[in-house]
Every structure is written in C-alpha cells, then in structure tokens.
C-alpha cells in the first residue's frame, strides 16, 4: 500500500514537472514571437546584413553573460556575428521582467539547432549588474 502511494505521488510530481517544463518553453516562444520575431524572423535567420541571426550565432554563444543586458537595454555599434559585420542599433525591451528574460534566453539558446546554456532569473539578475 505504502509503495503504491509513493508511486502515485511520484507520478503526480513528474506530471507537474513535465508540464512545467513545456510551459516555460512555450512561454519563451510566446515572448520571442511578441518581442523579437519581427526583426530576427521566425526561423532566427535575421535580415541580410541589417539584423544578425540568432540561429547558429557565435555571438550568442560567446556573449552568454551579456544577453540580459542586450534584451533589456538594447545594443548599438559594430558587432561581428558569424564573421559578418552588423551596425544597426537594437532597442531594448525594458518592460520585461527578469523571469521573462530567463525564459527568452532559454528559448533562443535551444531553438534552430542552438545548443546553449540554461539560465534562471537569479543568474539573469547577477548578469544585469554588469551592464555597461
């Protein structure tokens, strides 16, 4: 009897975990579609020499800690992504919360074949301290 109870509890916990995982990912997708997709495109390819790609971006990989600042405060000036130079200001989206930023980063880091790190809102907050 005890064992059954344990199993049932385990079952429910895993359900909660699984749905939670799926939700946070689809929240990230929603945030991406609302705030980023119009520029970086549905498949993350960017726009020719104007807007850099997120799909397969080496910049994304190498500047992991800068992402929260880029998303909230924007960036400008020359940047090189996958060997190509871009120079068009991106406005930040300051109304996003740190949780949203974490969801977004996790989303773009695991879309379109990207295989980056996972982050959480604590790390986002820590990285925001380092914004220029």
């Amino acid at each position: 009897m005890r064992q059954y109870l344990l199993l049932i509890i385990l079952f429910f916990i895993s359900i909660v975990f699984l749905t939670d995982c799926k939700n946070s990912f689809s929240d990230g997708k929603y945030l991406y579609e609302t705030h980023c997709q119009s520029c970086h495109m549905p498949d993350g390819i960017g726009l020719r020499g104007l807007i850099p790609p997120l799909a397969g971006s080496d910049y994304l990989k190498n500047n992991y800690e800068k992402l929260p600042c880029i998303i909230l405060l924007g960036v400008e000036g020359e940047m090189i992504v996958n060997g190509k130079t871009y120079n068009q200001p991106m406005a930040g989206i300051p109304e996003l919360g740190t949780m949203d930023v974490a969801l977004l980063i996790n989303y773009i880091n695991h879309q379109w074949g990207n295989d980056g790190k996972y982050t959480d809102f604590r790390e986002v907050e820590a990285n925001l301290q380092k914004c220029e």
């Binding site: 119009s38 520029c39 495109m41 726009l47 020719r48 020499g49 104007l50 807007i51 871009y86 068009q88």
Partner: protein, 205 residues
C-alpha cells in the same frame, strides 16, 4: 478512331485546366469610345539612395514591384524587406524587373540613411530603389498602389502602413498584389512576376 478523338479531347480539357489565368489589370476601368481605359500610376519624381532621381522613366519598358517602408519601422518592415530581398535575389540578373520602396518617414530617412539601409540589405540601385521625396507626394502616391500610408502617433514607429507588395506592368497598371509578411503569398507573387514577364515581352514583337 472515336477513342482517339475522345482521348485527345480529355487531354485538351486537362491541359486547359493546368494553363493559368492571365493577370487582369486591377485598376478601375472605364469604357471610352468602346475601349477600356484603366487608371494608371501617376507621374512621380523621387530621389534614391544614390541621390539619383527616380521617375516613371526609370521604369519605362520594365515591370516593377513597389512597397512602402521606413528604416526605423520595428513591426512589419524587416519581414517585408526580407521577402523583397528574395524577389531581388531571384530577378537579380533580369533587368526587365525593377523595384521601388518608398520611405514614408521623409524627415528621418535622408539619402545617407537610405544608403546605409541599402548597404545593410546588400542591394543596389537602379535594380532596387529606396526613395525619399516630398512628403505629400510620397504619402499620396500610396493610394495609386492600393496601399495605405498615414501618419499615426499611436502606431509603432509613428506611421501606419500596410505590408502590400504591388506589381506594375509596362503600362503603369497594377497586375498583382501580395502581403509582404506572408511567405506563401510572396511565393505566389513571384510566380505572377514570371508570368507577367512572359506575357508582357511576348506580345511586343
């Protein structure tokens, strides 16, 4: 013998289904002395990213694609530019096809800014002209292209405009339209361009 006749009739019927419909003139027409006369794109004069004047003459004997945008537009423009870029790439070698994008934010989008945007898009005039000009003229010619371009403080970027791409024939008539943010619609539009090329340039000589 009967069978063969029947068979060829069916074949004829099938191929006539496959044959596509000609592109109609979409402008309003009126019968004058027994002949249909359609409204046309008006005379215009704008300036492109190389400071070169762009007029109806730029497109004389050509078919062209027209749309509206502005360089700081955050909503639909990047997507529309992406698909205009596909059209540019596809017809790059065919000088019978040209393109014009009117910046409706004439105060911000000076010639040097258009030049930078063109370089970012990796495109060149006279194939694809990014033009500025008299504000009144730019906003009102949108209507000739069945498009909307209005100043609107509440819209993203301060202008309200649509994502239409419009195909003009050698007689300044509109022959096809699509939504520049809808990839499938743009695919269809590119087929219309190919079709118009065939029909426009086979009639003449």
């Amino acid at each position: 013998m009967r069978n063969i006749l029947f068979f060829s009739l069916i074949c004829l019927f099938l191929t006539s289904c496959v044959e596509r419909q000609p592109l109609k003139i979409l402008n309003r027409g009126e019968e004058v002395n027994g002949k249909m006369v359609h409204e046309r794109i008006r005379d215009f004069s704008f300036t492109n990213q190389d400071s070169v004047e762009v007029t109806n003459k730029t497109f004389a004997g050509k078919i062209y694609v027209s749309n509206n945008f502005f360089t700081t537009c955050p909503s639909i423009c990047p997507t529309t530019s992406l698909h205009m870029g596909r059209i540019y790439d596809k017809f790059l070698e065919d000088d019978r096809v040209r393109m014009i994008s009117h910046s409706i934010d004439v105060r911000t989008d000076s010639v040097p800014i258009l030049k930078r945007y063109a370089e970012g898009l990796e495109i060149e005039a006279p194939k694809w002209n990014l033009v500025t000009g008299n504000e009144e003229e730019i906003l009102s010619i949108a209507y000739d292209y069945f498009s909307n371009a209005l100043k609107d403080k509440t819209a993203p970027g301060g202008f309200d405009h649509d994502d239409l791409l419009v195909l003009i024939d050698t007689n300044r008539h509109i022959r096809s339209i699509c939504h520049g943010t809808d990839p499938a619609d743009v695919d269809r539009f590119m087929k219309d361009i190919e079709y118009l090329l065939k029909s426009e340039y086979s009639q003449k000589k």
